[in-house]
């Protein structure tokens, strides 16, 4: 069992989470007509053997989206933070208080 250190709930079994995939993918602006950019974002992946930044949602917990750094060969989890930059900043401000 993987244990994901949810920044909101603490370490939890990965069975409480669902997996979305590569967190480094960014879509073009919604009104972009750049076919190549859409193709790359929708279909192409780095698929590394080693460190991978990926999105998980804590569906059976706080329901937050997390960006997790995990090794795809050893399954070791390096870090987990809120996926949304705003939430991440708010969390950092909260813990700094």
């Amino acid at each position: 069992m993987l244990r994901i250190p949810c920044p909101f709930c603490g370490p939890r079994d990965h069975a409480e989470f669902t997996y979305l995939g590569d967190a480094t993918v960014t879509y073009p602006p919604i009104d972009s007509t750049d076919q190549r950019a859409w193709y790359e974002a929708v279909y192409l992946r780095d698929n590394p053997r080693g460190p991978h930044k990926e999105l998980w949602q804590h569906v059976n917990g706080c329901r937050m989206w997390l960006a997790v750094e995990r090794d795809t060969m050893t399954h070791e989890i390096k870090s987990a933070t809120a996926a949304h930059p705003g939430t991440r900043a708010a969390l950092a401000a909260e813990t700094a208080r």
Binding site: M1, D13, Y19, G21, Y43, R45, D46, E54, T72, M73
Partner: protein, 421 residues
Amino acid sequence: MNRYSWFSVLKEGLTGHKGWPRAWRDPEPKPAYDAIVVGGGGHGLSTAYYLARNHGMRNIAVLEKGYLGGGNVGRNTTIVRSNYMLPYSTQFYEFSLKLWENLSHELNYNVMFSQRGQIGLFHSPAARDAAARRANTMRLNDIEAELLSREQLMTMIPHLDYSASARFPILGGILQRRAGTARHDAVAWGYARAADRLGVDLIQNCEVTGILRQGNRVTGVETTRGTILAPKVGLAVAGNTTLLTDMAGLGRMPIESHKLQAFVSEPLKPLLDYVVAFALPGGHFYISQSDKGGLVFGGDLDMYNSYAQKGNLPVVEDVAGCAMALMPCLGRVRLLRHWSGVMDMSMDGSHIISKTAVEGLYLNTGWCYGGFKATPASGWCFASTMAKDEPHELTAAFSLDRFERGLAIDEKGQGPTPNLH
């Protein structure tokens, strides 16, 4: 090297089985070949066999980093069928099934292909409609299919849970009688032996570590056993695809590597005559009984990207739950082994057999859960693509550039989510 026959079995039986020669040679790699196939799984070995048999290419080699058949071909649940929906897939898999039907004779090796029939169960009126539509689609493609009622199923597979309290109430099933199972190791070994007999060098413990290019042409490969030159290189490395395409500088791929687990129970007396499967939100399961009596079964992926050939516990629990929901009589049966393989999951759930942007470099990947049944046709079409440097008509639609051209082949209609195909 001798042919296997009833006569050779009889002769060896009477003389203490001392005269069996080894099944294939263990050659040193030559400095150069006319073509190289990377990956000694089912697809690499069948490709090499058909390159030699159909296209007369004898100065060729298969390079395998471990041992022949140690990858997914030796790890799968061995289901062979051709009950697809989209025309490209239907024609490709039906061609494959026809090759399976003669494979033991073709290879002079008993691959134990058993056309025991595969039954997909349905559990709701909507799923019954979907099954009827699938059966009609198959019939329109000249592939026989039957819809089974709950009563028919009760006589054919009496051990399923037909009770009123069943977790997934069984309404009926769709049957393809010509579907079945084969002995997976024997498929790898049969193709290996037959290719070796045609002069193909099968080189094990030989990991490809680099792909050599001169401008836009491939010229050979770097391996742990030295440099080997060839004007044509075909990649058939399943879950390791991205590592090899990165070496060739092909850019990012529409592929993610995921792991799939499989399970086998202790041997039991004959219990289950068919391959039985079901898929619905909340459960995905397939089971058959091997000739040794073990129940062979599996379910979903572990869902997260992985190159580790080891599975995780939530899927074990999930699959055990599905097994109990379907056949409560399995409750006291012990698990003998369970393992995992690294899958080449593609963005549309279909495979890729294709030329690439690099001349002389060919790609065979994206088999998801279902590449074992494709083994003969994949080798046939990939060999043709490599030998003629043009797509085979059965796999032209499965090109690498289909995603960019908006021509994805998405059987499930799942969208670009590799782990859900």
